[in-house]
């Protein structure tokens, strides 16, 4: 079995991109119950409504749903659910997994899975708390290369300039990367 070098984290923001491209690159994690037209390897949830919706959605039938401990205890008899692993970065942020958003949990899971390149699609960086957490997680995992993927846009983002392991790219470049194999 070959080790994947790419993993995709799909946030809950609307996407104008064909996710099958990412599927060919490696495993995919979705944050929450959005993007039901794609089958994901992993999903993260932090609310009961989302867990219930996922358990009732055919597209999540083969997806491993990762939830925090409190939710896991409530849904322990559902085979598809697993409790979040211990993320050292969460402790260093002085938070618990239950306090994190689904997209932060998805990103932490991607880092924990120890796959070098992480592509972020539909990831919300407009929310300032989320933005700060993304940067904290990025700096806590220097061995991971985190790439924020967005629509082609001539305006540059300087957000990740100080972080050597974080960068920005666009949908076009990801598609080209996939074609090159």
């Amino acid at each position: 079995m070959t080790k994947n070098t790419y993993i995709t984290v799909v946030g809950s923001q609307p996407l104008d991109f064909d996710l099958t491209v990412c599927k060919r690159l490696g495993p995919m994690i979705v944050a929450g119950n959005s993007h039901k037209n794609t089958v994901f390897d992993y999903a993260t949830a932090n609310s009961e409504q989302h867990v219930q919706d996922m358990l009732n959605s055919p597209s999540f039938r083969d997806t491993r749903i990762v939830v925090h401990e409190r939710l896991y205890k409530k849904y322990i008899f559902f085979d598809a659910l697993d409790c979040v692993p211990n993320f050292p970065a969460v402790n260093s942020m002085d938070l618990s997994a239950a306090e994190l958003s689904e997209q932060s949990l998805a990103l932490l899971l991607a880092c924990w899975l120890d796959i070098e390149n992480i592509l972020l699609l539909g990831y919300d960086i407009e929310n300032l708390t989320e933005r700060a957490r993304l940067l904290s997680i990025g700096s806590a995992h220097p061995h991971n290369k985190i790439v924020y993927v967005r629509k082609p846009n001539p305006n540059k983002i300087f957000l990740f300039d100080k972080y050597p392991n974080m960068s920005v790219t666009d949908y076009k470049k990801v598609s080209e990367m996939n074609k090159r194999g």
Partner: protein, 124 residues
């Protein structure tokens, strides 16, 4: 070598069923001296296996190793485990109020406390 057609089993859940009251906490020496107890335990295991064959929808495994408290049962499905717990009065057996789970991501085995409530069961 494992046959390609044979699906590998993943026992995610574990629960312990207590031995009949007279057989609990008996040392191997006592069991050697009391063949009636050993026979009762053996019959209990056979009964459990037969019931499991009837009620379990997915795979299960009864631990072969001896435990003085009871029998360890591993199950693939959480639904089977839930049914097994709920149907205790029907088969007149007693479960140790603890559930063991194996995390599919980490492989970590963890125990959870089972709490019986008038409305059903919950886990702490």
């Amino acid at each position: 070598m494992v046959k390609k057609t044979e699906k590998s089993k993943n026992y995610k859940y574990q629960i312990m069923l207590k031995w009949p009251a007279v057989c609990r906490n008996r040392s191997p020496e006592t069991l050697q001296e009391r063949p009636d107890l050993a026979l009762q335990m053996n019959n209990f295991r056979i009964k459990l296996d037969n019931v499991c064959k009837l009620i379990m929808r997915k795979g299960y495994r009864i631990d072969e190793s001896h435990n003085i408290s009871g029998l360890n049962i591993w199950m693939e499905s959480g639904q089977d485990l839930y049914d097994f717990i709920i149907r205790q009065p029907e088969f007149d057996w007693e479960i140790v109020p603890e559930i063991g789970t194996v995390n599919s991501l980490t492989g970590e085995y963890r125990k959870w406390q089972l709490i019986y409530m008038p409305t059903g069961i919950s886990v702490a």
